[in-house]
């Protein structure tokens, strides 16, 4: 299984959804109310989700037939995932338009619709992997991992954007509370995901199960590497709040640490594919 396009697709779209969600929370709480503060997270979320959709095409053997992929809404969560992520991307584009051209009458309506699409897209993305014939994925760890990635990566990008904005224009009133809270909640969900993994390889002897192992790290090395990256990311997040030197530099390190940990985790997730039967 060539999983790299799927690793990029899921992480980029989840990051886009997380960034948009954190931005919406900021707007509702009146944090970072300046329109310049609102616009860049929306544009970045749009770029991330758009890039995610492009990488999804790389997973298909016949990308020119991609429009067919939303034909089975009756029973395929994959169709729903594709449709809802496209709807979310469209909603984001419309929201950017509404913010740029300052149309407050439309703002609430478009924002609520985009939030609904974002939530539904994330739910569909999770459901795609809850396959009854793949016990390793069909656990509570999958939704916790995906939701955790959404908050963690969205929070990291949000913190970076706000720090960069405040370094460009020091007069801007920038709050990192929502982004940092997203990072914290994301890490809690990751921790819960680890504890809720059943380790399920079906119900029988592992030799029986289809297991295309493409893991290059053993489980201990993987866990140590990922935990190290998370701890480094947390330390750098604190360094961003109380920086020695330019805060944007620490924020970039935060994003790099968490992104590396997530890429590692997601690649491992796809490698753990292990269905029952033949």
């Amino acid at each position: 299984m060539h999983s790299w396009s799927l690793v990029c697709f899921t992480l980029l779209t989840q990051c886009g959804i997380g960034l948009f969600g954190i931005g919406a929370v900021e707007r509702w709480l009146g944090l970072n109310g300046d329109s310049a503060n609102q616009l860049w997270p929306l544009i970045t979320a749009l770029a991330l989700t758009g890039a995610g959709l492009v990488t999804a095409l790389a997973h298909l053997s016949a990308p020119r037939l991609a429009p067919h992929a939303i034909r089975n809404l009756k029973s395929s969560w994959l169709s729903w995932e594709i449709l809802l992520i496209q709807a979310f991307t469209g909603g984001l584009a419309l929201l950017v338009f509404v913010v740029i051209f300052d149309m407050p009458a439309l703002l609430l309506f478009v924002e609520v619709a985009t939030i609904l699409c974002a939530g539904a897209a994330l739910a569909a993305m999770i459901k795609v992997y809850l396959l009854k014939t793949v016990p390793a994925w069909n656990t509570a760890a999958t939704p916790l991992e995906f939701l955790g990635s959404t908050l963690l990566l969205g929070g990291s990008v949000s913190v970076l954007l706000h720090v960069v904005q405040s370094s460009i224009d020091p007069r801007l009133d920038v709050s990192l509370v929502a982004g940092s809270t997203g990072i914290g909640l994301g890490l809690v969900l990751k921790l819960l995901a680890v504890s809720s993994q059943s380790g399920g390889r079906g119900t029988g002897e592992s030799d029986m199960w289809h297991a295309p192992a493409e893991q290059s790290l053993n489980p201990f090395q993987f866990l140590a590497c990922r935990t190290g990256l998370f701890l480094l990311g947390v330390t750098m997040t604190l360094a961003t709040a109380w920086p020695i030197g330019p805060a944007w530099m620490w924020a970039i390190v935060v994003l790099v640490c968490f992104s590396a940990a997530e890429v590692l985790g997601r690649a491992r997730f796809y490698s753990s594919y292990n269905r029952v039967g033949l």
Partner: protein
Amino acid sequence: MMKRPAFYLDTQICTGCKTCMVACKDKNDLDLGIRWRRVVEFTGGEWARFPDGTYAQNVFAYYISVSCNHCRDPICVQSCPTTAMQQDEYGVVSVDQDTCVGCRYCEWGCPYSSPQFDAKRGKMTKCDFCMDLLLEGGIPACVASCPTRALQFGELDELEEKYGSDMIIAPLPRSSLTEPCSIYGSHKNARPRETAAGFIANPEEVKDA
């Protein structure tokens, strides 16, 4: 044409000769690595030491020839986002090559490795019960080629009446997952499904294309 065609395999007399595999590949002109029908060798057992110092073995092996089971609840059809994977009025599951995007999601879900990816064409392929032969009143190539007549073919209702409906043995998964329409007659050494007392001895012949 039958109302609901189905395969029956008598595992007691299947010798694992793989003629069915070869006939399938030949009839459908399948490329290297694509196997619509696969013969699984399930084996196990060990030497047991007795108190008097002597040993005895309980080694066993049996073969299961598996293709698409054209399930009642086909996970491939449900999960295919394009509707390329479809089931006709006879229950036969096939792939519309003009619509398949090659996402391989059907392959993820099927517990029988039935959808096989054709890397050259970027499409999923699978057993279609030799529909062209069936429509001409013939029988599938695999059934026609079986030298011991272990592999048979008939109306599902009649086969179920004759052999029973739930005869799933290791290493096949529990039938409630997809409700397969093939019937696997038990071998004298057959182990129950999802047993830990054995393993597939020829995984390279069974794995996905």
